[in-house]
Symmetry: C2
Subunit: 236 residues, 2 copies
DNA sequence: ACAGCGACTGAACACCTGTTTAGTCTGCTG
DNA sequence: CAGCAGACTAAACAGGTGTTCAGTCGCTGT
């Protein structure tokens, strides 16, 4: 620990300490003096190296994002949301970064936006490829379905605290990831419903609010079919 | 708005102002004086009514949770994660509460834990019922599948900012919810994959190591299994 | 009429915040 | 060697923080 930390430049130690503290306590609840103490430097040195606290944050943002996008890990080369979730099986290495990432994604920093878009695009690209190979079901709204799958993957990261508590095990630990793999694949392969009635009900409900007669299977039509009441549930 | 605000007790106005401010700026970045000003009272009165800032927070937590659990709305009576997402189609009414909820769920407050567990349990109950009716596919791990569906629902809430930006529309606005409904139902009904090869590959990968794994596994074992499972995405 | 009480406030308090300032030390360069 | 640049620090600063205090107001019960 000691020697490894001493090998890093002060700037790097500050960055690492900040990432850990921000991930653990949040940006606002972390003081410059705390970071400085953790990094073994003075608070003034942080300003000397980064400018101000906000600049330190964006430096941390950029670094964490780069960990998940720049690096040469083969599973991160095409960072599907599912893959990034999968890649994080060694919590020891990525733990603080994952937590940081979870906090980041719920904010509205440019880095978070960039990361989210990258993930979304990558997931969409994988789907496009698989669709060309005839491996995918027809989708009424491929962009939205891509988003749904991305949400499913990132949900593990963002809701990590709740999941770990509810399951009694860390959902992003290797045991948790292992447990999630098969059910995820089941969901993506045949869904949860054994019947079409819910889907058909939705189709009719959404189609019936339109003046035109609903069509069965056309994908493009569905997208134009939006704009009216939400009531697939009888309410309202 | 004037009269409506004046109809509320100062205590209620403080609570409402705090919820809005916490949801918008976060707990730490919101000062007592800001809340007081928004509520039209003095900062000292907040302390008088709630004790301290932390107590105000838990009061807000409890209130927001009660909005989504106690109320008599029929769609909230059984608050599936999917339903709660659907129920929130009038952002005007629930908007601030949703944002507050999103922030809450990424923390580790008792109220967030309670809410999450409630949602999880409710989703599980709906599934149990549907399973009895023979409406569900067989699941290798029903509890985990329940969690996955819950994550899918709550992901919209927690990642609202990113989703709204990426889609160019608010995913929790009525238009966004409407657009998400059909793809969600498609996903839950037949998944995204038209083939079983990914699922079968996962089953075999996990099953084969299962027999060779009498007890707790090391990281390397999980990684190899993971590698097999993931190789479904036959990289270029 | 008056005592009591809770709602309510402005001002003060002690503390913590991010940042600045002035300066020391170290190592390199001419 | 001098000198300079950058890493680095202790101390101070201005402002904001949550909270406390002493007190006023208006209502209610007697």
């Amino acid at each position: 620990m000691r020697s490894a930390a001493d090998d890093l430049t002060a700037r790097a130690r500050i960055r690492d300490a900040a990432i850990i503290a921000f991930a653990r306590d949040g940006f606002d609840a972390t003081s410059m003096r705390t970071i400085a103490a953790d990094a073994g430097v003075s608070a003034a040195l942080i300003v000397h190296h980064f400018g101000d606290k906000a600049a330190l944050r964006t430096a941390c943002d950029d670094y964490v994002v780069s960990v998940f996008t720049d690096e040469q890990h083969e599973l991160i080369a095409a960072p599907t949301a599912d893959r990034i979730r999968t890649a994080l099986h060694d919590l020891d290495r990525y733990g603080p970064y994952i937590d940081y990432l979870g906090r980041m994604l719920t904010g509205d920093s440019p880095a978070a936006a960039h990361l989210f878009d990258t993930l979304l695009t990558a997931t969409g690209a994988v789907f496009d490829e698989q669709r060309s190979a005839g491996l995918l079901e027809p989708m009424s709204d491929p962009e939205m379905t891509t988003l749904l799958v991305t949400i499913l993957g990132l949900g593990h990261v963002v809701l990590r605290t709740q999941i770990a508590r509810a399951l009694g095990e860390d959902g992003l630990g290797s045991a948790g990831l292992l447990r999630a793999t098969l059910p995820t694949m089941e969901l993506l392969t045949h869904g949860v419903y054994a019947t079409d009635v819910f889907l058909e009900g939705t189709r009719q409900a959404m189609g019936s609010t339109e003046t035109a007669r609903p069509r069965r299977d056309s994908g493009e039509a569905a997208q134009s079919r939006r704009g009216l009441a939400v009531s697939r549930e009888e309410e309202s």
